[in-house]
């Protein structure tokens, strides 16, 4: 047999005009399964509450053929919370997948980029420094919007501080860690010097929660996330080699820097939108991509699956907190309590195989 006859076995590719991707049946089926699971949990979550509604009725109502009472309870009362969970979960999952891919480090989550710590610092400042200007800010724009502004400002600060003839993943992480450290130190200081009654309120905000969402808050997050996801999809599809490292990317042309900048900006904005809707829900952005990666058996975090795992994790945790646990806990506590051990379980199982 001639050596030239031996072709490397590549997975089949699919090309549609300018868009091309590798056809991976396992990834597609896992993603579809995750989507189905996320939808199911979404519906169950809508049905659970003081006025329980059965799953078939929930689906019928969602399709616009339900009874009037159900429609009121679902669309006006429960939908904002469930949608907030869905949107925040997807946003955090995708944001984490982007940052982990670009930094090529599983510990790189939006938390590392300073968004969460910046938002928290602003929120704690507004809660603990009562009176005067702080109270005026909270009254006019609301705590979550102020925190969002703080988070985005910090994220952009990290981005521009890390800029030096382009963005290097490692430099970005180190700068992010140091800026986050400053923000966390400020938060700690504020908490130490504050009145204990304010501290409890601030601490609850620091965890992240889906309680009392209104349609207004959710709509902003929903549209923001949708637009950002479209941008991410458009850019990511055109440019696959972002996982291969700086040298390879540099060899492929200058546009790499621009593409990575756009993707990172989207990651920052997605995390910011999530924070504005639910507070800094921790760990979803870290855990979801790692879980998705292992479920889909991909070498790098898959975006779609990461978003879906994020949604599942968030809605599932919220459901658990409302329907199963004896005490009412913010959803952030539950995502961490579930996500952490599940990640460990996946690791151990993968190692035992």
């Amino acid at each position: 047999m001639n050596v030239t006859d031996v072709k490397p076995s590549l997975p089949p590719g699919v090309r549609l005009g300018r868009v091309s991707f590798v056809w991976r049946p396992w990834l597609v089926s896992v993603s579809l399964l995750l989507a189905a699971a996320a939808f199911l949990v979404f519906c169950v979550s809508i049905g659970v509450g003081d006025f329980p509604i059965g799953l078939p009725q929930v689906i019928r109502t969602l399709l616009g053929r339900g009874e009037q009472v159900d429609e009121f309870v679902i669309m006006d009362l429960r939908m904002p919370r469930a949608l907030a969970g869905l949107v925040v979960g997807i946003a955090l999952g995708v944001s984490g997948a982007i940052t982990q891919s670009i930094a090529r480090n599983p510990l790189a989550s939006p938390d590392v980029l300073g968004i969460t710590s910046g938002a928290s610092a602003v929120a704690v400042f507004l809660v603990t420094v009562s009176g005067g200007a702080a109270a005026a800010v909270v009254d006019t724009v609301g705590l979550s919007v102020a925190a969002l502004a703080g988070g985005l400002t910090t994220g952009l600060l990290v981005y521009f501080l890390a800029w030096r003839r382009g963005i290097d993943g490692f430099r970005l992480i180190l700068i992010g860690i140091s800026v986050s450290a400053v923000m966390e130190a400020l938060t700690t200081w504020l908490l130490v010097t504050a009145d204990i009654r304010d501290v409890a309120q601030a601490q609850a905000w620091l965890v992240g929660s889906l309680d009392d969402r209104s349609w207004g808050e959710v709509e902003v997050a929903l549209w923001g996330t949708l637009v950002l996801l479209v941008v991410v999809a458009a850019v990511a599809f055109q440019f696959k080699p972002m996982h291969f490292g700086d040298e390879v990317a540099a060899g492929l042309g200058v546009r790499y820097t621009a593409v990575r900048a756009v993707l990172l900006l989207c990651a920052v904005l997605l995390a910011g939108v999530a924070v504005s809707a639910a507070g800094p829900v921790p760990f979803v952005a870290l855990v979801a991509p790692q879980v998705a990666m292992r479920l889909a058996r991909c070498p790098t975090p898959p975006m779609v699956a990461s978003g879906l795992v994020g949604a599942l994790l968030l809605i599932g945790s919220d459901l658990l907190a409302r329907a199963v646990l004896p005490v009412s806990l913010p959803v952030g506590v539950v995502t961490a309590a579930i996500g952490g051990p599940f990640l460990v379980y996946l690791l151990v199982r993968a190692n035992l195989r």
């Binding site: 180190l174 800026v179 151990v348 190692n351």
Partner: protein
């Protein structure tokens, strides 16, 4: 993901020169440490002259009211916190350098093994259950929590095939950290006394702990340092990759176990006595690597001394800036260290590989 910096090839005879430079550097660091320690004894709410400090340390008891007062300040306040800052700084510096070596992850911090959150969880739990209020009562539980968390994380990371995979350790550490943080928050949110203790404990401070605590902590740290020093040659080889190290006769499992034990002892003891001081180990390890290059036999001692100097200086600054109040050392470490670190990062001093 090696943690090695770029190695410049020395000219003939350059080896000896580089060695001399490192020895001189070590000497300079030691001298700086001594000066910083002396300043730490003299500086504070009441500034003392060198003669007064000398009397406080070695002077015979007199009937002079003023001198007795000075003796009291030096003996019960200044000396303990200076000693603790040195001990904890060495522990955190060496711990940070070691964990970056063993996980081959340049953004790893001692917090990664779960020791910080293990200690925090233990502290809030015993306060909630037993109502402890004195650091001397809960410092033991803090150490126990740190040690248990470290052992569990390391145990999970060594199950099966993934044993020794640096990524597994990092992710298992994050998983457990995430879980413990959630539990800590859950306890703190439901118990006001715990929440109150947690916010002070979390700030990280070397003040207010007596020799009854410092003495045993120093013993643990000393054992940790000795273990750390014995493992440095094999750590150097491990960073060439597992296969190369095995080929050169390194007992990989033994070396890892010893190394992680040392990290747990060092970080656990420091955290138990001071609370979690974030960022110090990470920052100091990078600065040490920049100064010495990738050889851990040099890097680790440098990191230890740097850690002590930085913690001493930050504690002093904390005593001076907001007089008559005080800023916790952990907060100052982040507020001062992070911008300094960011400048070094931006100027391209650190590399990931």
């Amino acid at each position: 993901m090696g943690t090695t910096a770029v190695v410049e090839r020395p000219a003939p005879g350059g080896m000896a020169k580089a060695r001399r430079r490192r020895v001189v550097g070590l000497g300079i660091l030691l001298a700086v440490l001594v000066v910083a320690a002396a300043l730490s004894l003299a500086v504070g709410a009441r500034a003392l002259s060198p003669a007064e400090v000398w009397h406080g340390l070695f002077g015979a008891p007199t009937s002079d009211q003023r001198l007795t007062e000075i003796r009291l300040i030096v003996e019960t306040v200044r000396v303990p916190r200076t000693v603790l800052a040195i001990v904890a700084g060495i522990a955190l510096g060496i711990g940070g350098a070691l964990i970056q070596g063993y996980t081959r992850n340049p953004i790893a911090d001692t917090g990664l093994l779960g020791v910080n959150t293990g200690a925090s969880f233990a502290v809030v739990s015993v306060i909630a259950v037993f109502g402890f209020s004195n650091p001397f009562q809960y410092v033991w539980f803090a150490f126990l929590g740190a040690a248990v968390a470290g052992v569990v994380v390391f145990g999970l990371a060594t199950i099966g095939r993934g044993a020794g995979n640096p990524l597994t350790l990092a992710l298992a550490g994050q998983g457990i950290t995430v879980f413990l943080m959630a539990m800590t928050t859950a306890v703190a949110l439901s118990n006001q006394a715990s929440l109150n203790a947690l916010r002070f404990w979390n700030a990280g401070s070397v003040a207010g702990v007596g020799f009854d605590v410092i003495r045993p902590v120093t013993v643990f740290v000393a054992v940790g340092v000795v273990l750390a020093l014995t493992t440095l040659p094999s750590l150097n080889l491990l960073n060439l990759g597992d296969d190369v190290a095995r080929g050169l006769g390194v007992n990989i499992a033994l070396s890892r176990t010893v190394g992680i034990t040392a990290i747990t002892l060092l970080a656990g003891a420091a955290t138990a006595a001071c609370g979690p001081i974030a960022f110090l180990g990470l920052m100091v390890a990078h600065v040490a690597r920049y100064l010495t290059g990738p050889d851990y036999r040099w890097l680790v001692p440098y990191a230890g001394l740097l850690g002590a100097v930085v913690l001493l200086v930050c504690d002093m600054v904390g005593r001076l800036v907001v007089r008559p109040g005080e800023l916790d050392a952990g907060v100052v470490v982040a507020l001062l260290g992070a911008p300094f670190f960011a400048v070094l990062v931006w100027r391209g001093k650190f590399r990931s590989a």
